[in-house]
C-alpha cells in the first residue's frame, strides 16, 4: 500500500512547508480554506495565479502549488492587474494583509475596485504589522496597544468592507478565522464571480498583537471572535463594526456590474471592426 497522502497535497508546494507562521496565527486557516475552495470547485490549478504582497501572509503565495508571485510591499493588486489583463484566462487571486493592502497599497485597492478589475482579493486583517514585530496600521482599533502606540492608538481605523463596497467591489464579505465553512463558501462564490471581489478575514495574531491587548493565545482571540461575531448578511457595510463587544460579519455586497475585462474586450472588438470596415 502506498503512503497515505493528504487530500489537499496537490495544492501545496512541496519543499516550502513548514510555513513560517507563529502558533495561533490565522494565516494557515486562510490558506486551508483557500485550497479547499479550489478543491471543491475542481479548479484547474494550472490557470490559477496567487499574488501576495509583503508581510506574514505575503508568504502564502509560496505555499500554494499554483503559479505565484510575491511582489513588493503594497503592489500585489497592481501586479495582479497586469497579469489578468495580459492573460484573461487566468484566475488571479490576491491574498495579502491589512497593512499591505490598505496602508502602502491602499491606492491600488480603491482603483482596482473602482475599475471592477477581474481579480479576487482576500485580506487577512490581524490589526497590526506582525512581520515587523507589531506596529499599528490602518485597521488597528482606537486605543489598542502596539509597539508604535505605546500610549494607546489615537488613529481611527478603516472599515474595510465599507471601503470596498464604496469603491465599487461587486462582492464583499467579512468573516473571522472561526467561520471556516462560511469562508470557504465565500471564497468559492468570489472565485466564480466576474469582477472585483473582496473578502476580509479577521485573523488572530496572538503572538504579536494579542499578547499586548489582553488576548495572549490563539484561543483567547478565537474566543473573542466567537463571543462578539454577529452574522448580518446584506446589512449596511458602513455599519459593520468591529469592537470588543461586536464583530459584524457576513456577505455585504453581491451585485452585477460590467467588469473591466468585459469593457476592454468590447472596446477592442469595436475598434477592430471599425478598422476592418475602413
Amino acid at each position: 500500500m502506498s503512503e497515505e497522502s493528504h487530500p489537499l497535497e496537490n495544492f501545496l508546494r512541496e519543499g516550502m512547508i513548514p510555513h513560517i507562521w507563529c502558533e495561533g496565527c490565522g494565516n494557515g486557516i486562510i490558506l486551508n480554506c483557500f485550497v479547499r475552495a479550489l478543491n471543491e470547485l475542481n479548479a484547474d490549478i494550472n490557470k490559477v495565479v496567487v499574488v501576495s504582497g509583503i508581510g506574514c501572509i505575503g508568504r502564502l503565495s509560496g505555499y500554494t502549488n499554483t503559479d505565484s508571485y510575491h511582489t513588493t510591499h503594497g503592489r500585489a493588486i497592481a501586479f495582479a492587474t497586469g497579469v489578468k489583463l495580459a492573460n484573461p484566462e487566468l484566475k488571479v487571486v490576491v491574498i495579502s494583509g491589512d497593512g499591505d493592502l490598505f496602508a502602502i497599497g491602499g491606492n491600488h485597492f480603491i482603483h482596482a475596485a473602482r475599475r471592477n478589475m477581474d481579480i479576487q482579493v482576500i485580506c487577512a486583517n490581524n490589526f497590526n504589522y506582525g512581520m515587523t514585530g507589531g506596529q499599528y496600521g490602518p485597521t488597528t482599533p482606537l486605543e489598542a496597544w502596539t509597539t508604535t502606540t505605546p500610549y494607546g492608538n489615537i488613529e481611527h481605523s478603516f472599515n474595510l468592507v465599507h471601503l470596498a463596497a464604496a469603491s465599487g467591489a461587486v462582492y464583499v464579505a467579512r468573516w473571522t478565522s472561526l467561520h471556516v465553512r462560511r469562508m470557504i463558501e465565500s471564497i468559492k462564490k468570489a472565485l466564480k464571480k466576474e469582477g472585483f471581489s473582496f473578502i476580509e478575514v479577521i485573523s488572530p495574531c496572538p503572538e504579536i498583537y494579542g499578547r499586548r491587548n489582553k488576548m495572549p493565545t490563539g484561543i483567547d482571540m478565537m474566543n473573542w471572535f466567537k463571543k462578539a461575531s454577529e452574522i448580518q448578511n446584506y446589512s449596511d457595510p458602513a455599519k459593520a463594526e468591529i469592537s470588543p463587544e461586536k464583530i459584524v460579519v457576513g456577505e455585504f455586497v453581491d451585485i452585477e456590474k460590467l467588469t473591466y475585462g468585459h469593457l476592454v474586450r468590447e472596446m477592442t472588438s469595436k475598434v477592430q471592426k471599425r478598422m476592418k470596415e475602413g
Binding site: T71, F79, G82, L85, L90, V271
Partner: protein, 385 residues
Amino acid sequence: MAEEDRSVLTGKHFMQGDIACAEGAIATGCRFFAGYPITPATEISERMARRMPEVGGVYIQMEDELGSMAAVIGASYAGVKSMTATSGPGFSLMQENIGLAAMTETPCVIVNVMRGGPSTGQPTKPGQQDVMQAKWGSHGDYEIIALAPSSVQEMFDLTIEAFNLSEVYRNPVIVLADEIVGHMWERVVIPEKSEIKVVNRKKPRKPPDKYAPFAPEEDLVPPMACFGEGYRFYATGLTHDETGHPQTDSAEAQQRLIQRLCDKIRKNTEKIVKVRETMLEDAEVAVVAYGIPSRSALSAIRKGRKEGIKAGLLRLITLWPFPDKQVSQLAKQVHAIVVPEMNYGQVVREVERAAKETPVIFLPKLGEEPHKPTEILEAIRSACG
C-alpha cells in the same frame, strides 16, 4: 490577421519622437502598456491608448507609477511583452519595482523621457539628469541596460532594441530619451515587418516537474515559463535559489544570485554595447556625447575640421553597461575628451574613470536649450590650445 497588418506601419513618416517610440514598441510585439500621464512622455501613453486596441493589446492608465511598473511586471510574467513610459518624478516612483523586475528577471521596457530635475523641476524642458538614477536608482546590487536615442528614428529603432535586449537577458531595459528627442518631429523610416529583428525570451525545454525557474543556462540566463503554462512556479523579490524558494539566511545563496544577476549583463557587455564613431580615425580631440547634445557635437566637430582641428565624436548609444572599452581606447589616442551633457556631471564621471590620465573637459548645460555647436567648438579649440 487584420490586427497584425496594423502592427508595423511600414513606410516613411513625419513623426514625433514619443510616437515613434510607441510604434517601435508595437512593431516588436509589445501588447501591454501601463502608465501614468507625465510631461514630456504623455504622448507615448496617448499613442498606446489609441493603438493597443487596434493590435489586440491592452492599454491601462494606472493610479500611479508604482502601480504602472508593478502591472508591467505582472503582464510580462503572464507572457506578454510590456512597457511603461514616464519622466523623472515617475521614474523615481518606479525604482523599487525596477529592482523587483531585476530580481525576478523580468523582461520589460521602461522609457524615461528626461526633463529638468530634481523634484518637479522643469517639466517641459529637456534634461539628462537621470543617467545615474537609471543605473543606481533601486536599492541593492543589480545591473541595468540603458539606451540613449538622439533622433526620432532612434526612438523607433532603440525601443525595438530595448525589447530585444530585455528578452535576451531577462532584464529591465531603460530607454533614456530627453524632452527634445521625445517632442521633436523628424522623418522616420519604418521597415517591412520581415526586416524587423524580433527576439523572444527562451522558453523552458524541461517538463514542469523538472523546471527550476531561476536555473541559468550557459549564458547565465534562465529560460522563462509564464503563468498559465502549467509550470506552476513561484517568484519572489526575496533572495531565492534556482527553484525560486526564498533563501533569506544563506550567504551563499545571496552571493550566488546577486553575482549571476550582475554577471549576466557584465560578462555580455561587449555584445550589448553600441557606440557610433564619427571622424575618429585621426582625431586628436574627441567629443563623447549621447542624446540631443551629440547632435550639437556633430556640428561642432565638422566646424572644427574646417578649421583644421582633428576632432571626432564618440556617440554613446548604450549608456549602461558603460562602454568602458571604447572610451579607454579613445583616451589612448586623443589629447583630450570633451563631454557635453545636460546635467551637472553624470556620464562625465564614467568618462573620467575610463579615460584615466587623459584630460576630460566637462560642458554642463542646465535648462532650456542643448549646447550650441559653438560652445562645444570652443571647448574643442581650448583642448587643442
